[in-house]
Subunit: 380 residues, 2 copies
């Protein structure tokens, strides 16, 4: 049954549904394909081995991870005024990207416009004018002269300096972005709609296919489950005069199976599950493993996703990665562990170390170790 979905009364091949979805999409991915192609060229040349000493595949300077982030939108009109959105600030994707860069990866960051960007969290505020207020301050002409640095003046003759208490944070952001530019390790691709997201994901995965197991897909974006096909959308804004609004949304065909089985069958694929109800979370993660053949599922609950994540993986992969259950706090996962054995999967609960501001450092360490084991296994 892998790759097939049961939609309504009809058995519809997921492949056909996916093809129909993409054929209906109004998005052209040409510009994206060009930049992804150039990015791959840069990183597959074997001359640029990194200082991280990672075991990378033949001809590949760095392993490449595609990090998807933010929530996809579903337009309710063609000239889009209203849309259905999936809640996601993009924190997981942005922080994970920072950690993947630290770990020696080149990152293709497929991100919703306006969601959190890498290195944002190093800054003391989120909104642009507030950020400026927090990190910078006016310096009157007299003070600047006393310091021996009149510098370029503002309209009133005073200049602007970085506040001493934020100097280190701002310098960190600048250095991190400078390193990405110089090494060309971060490619940011922005999307808004489900149509853009899936079009870009498919073309990226197909372009990366020749690189085999050195590629990881880390699918942290919150992808819409339901949509209205472009061909059924009204051209203009829906009018409110005619009583209640009845919307009938179709299921978005599941792309995971296509990605794993067709678009990039040799890559290492990590998918995410976000639920609000603990009771169905782990079960849904099992389903993703068995139905779609992903290599690892990161399961989150909405209310504590910044402190706890559960890794769900096939038992064989866990053994290959040399992961030991004793390394992790067990939490209340005893019941889940019993279910594991029957289903041939195992769960590992990661908790944010109290000394760490975020859980992503630990998470990416675990994920990268599994990818490394996967690459070694594939090389045998």
């Amino acid at each position: 049954m892998k790759g097939d979905g049961n939609i309504g009364d009809q058995e519809v091949s997921t492949s056909d549904a996916v093809e129909a979805f993409l054929a209906d999409s109004p998005v052209s991915g040409e510009a994206v394909a060009d930049s992804v192609g150039a990015f791959i060229e840069r990183h597959k040349s074997s001359g640029n081995a990194t200082s991280s000493g990672r075991a990378t595949g033949p001809g590949l300077g760095r392993p490449i991870v595609v990090v998807t982030s933010g929530g996809t939108t579903v337009p309710l009109e063609r000239r889009c005024v209203r849309f259905i959105d999936n809640f996601s600030a993009g924190t997981r994707g942005a922080l994970s990207t920072e950690r993947f860069l630290e770990a020696g990866y080149a990152v293709i960051f497929l991100t919703r416009s306006g969601s959190l960007q890498p290195f944002s969290q190093m800054l003391p505020a989120a909104d642009p004018p507030e950020i400026i207020d927090r990190v910078a301050m006016l310096q009157p002409p007299s003070a600047a002269a006393a310091a021996g640095s009149p510098g370029p003046a503002g309209a009133d003759g005073d200049s602007v300096v970085i506040r001493p208490e934020h100097m280190a944070a701002v310098a960190r952001v600048l250095r991190a972005r400078q390193a990405c530019r110089e090494q060309g390790t971060l490619l940011t691709i922005k999307y808004e709609t489900i149509f853009e997201y899936l079009t870009y994901l498919r073309l990226t995965s197909e372009l990366l296919r020749p690189l085999g197991p050195d590629v990881m897909f880390y699918l942290a974006a919150a992808v819409s489950d339901f949509y209205i096909p472009w061909s059924e959308l009204a051209e203009h804004k829906i009018q409110s005069a005619d009583g209640p609004l009845e919307l009938s949304l179709q299921r978005v065909p599941k792309m995971l199976g296509e990605l794993v089985n067709k678009w990039a069958p040799q890559a290492f694929t990590v998918s995410f599950k976000l639920e609000t109800d603990q009771r169905i979370l782990v079960h849904k993660a099992f389903t993703a493993l068995h139905r779609y053949g992903v290599h690892l599922v990161v399961a989150n609950l909405l209310h504590n996703r910044k402190d706890v994540v559960t890794l769900v993986e096939p038992l064989a992969a866990a053994a290959a990665a040399g992961a030991a259950a004793a390394d992790y706090p067990a939490g209340d996962s005893a019941a889940a562990a019993a279910e594991d054995a029957a289903e041939g999967v195992r769960t590992v609960v990661l908790q944010r170390p109290s000394a760490e501001p975020d859980i992503e450092r630990l998470l990416i360490k675990e994920v990268a170790a599994r990818h490394q084991a996967f690459v070694s296994e594939a090389a045998r």
Copy 2:
């Protein structure tokens, strides 16, 4: 018929529908009421007459405008993962707020979290890490020492300075925000959902009612037309396993009539219409004037709203404001002008002057002049 809506087969009093909506809302506005109350106290004291020399009402230091901005969301679950959103970057509200501050108003800025904030547009980028890259740069220790200002160093010993080419822009932002802080002229209230927006708007308007005509409501937010009552929302995320999703949304009761007739009946109210279809835009603006009794409608088309707006107002008000049609480029509004006479309204088309980066300076000049005439009229 004013204040009544025809919903389906039933005549339902809008007042009753509005009360039912607000009673069903899960939002408490206590913290917002406290800050709005303090803001009003500060600005109604007559001792603080402004330098702008505006004719303001008795006991009021500055006229107050409530600017609403951004789009409201409609949750599809209580623990909100999915929601329906209205497209709005918040540019109109943010830029208008800057112009109202320049014109001597105190502004209550009711804004969607994450949408554009005042003074953002003065900066060279929108995303936080990119903004830092654009306005700041690392200065190596040697350069800093040569300039005589070693200053506080980053982790690698280098410091950060503002780039000369952006010094003036950053200084402008800092001075503008500093002025708002010192004079207490900008109160920002953030909302996400339609429930928060309408709860905050009602309590703000009721608190402002005693100030009479000196208060303006400038309702630029994109407010949802349809919603699902809180009492009907599922607790957890809607599951996608069970085939297509059928959503039945109810109309959000029209609050405009309540605002104009009950919550703040003496205030000057400006509402906005955004459509994608020129043919229905002006007609809908007429309806807002006649059905809800607003004093001015700003009508926009999605595709050219940054270059052209159409003011729609009752003929009497236009005469009082001394506005002359000859002052404005007529565009293709001849047909609309003919219709005006029959309906007792007039339309004025504003076009962005080519020398101006935005249309808001012209728009706020026009709006403020009409408010001033309205205040003078009320004082007779």
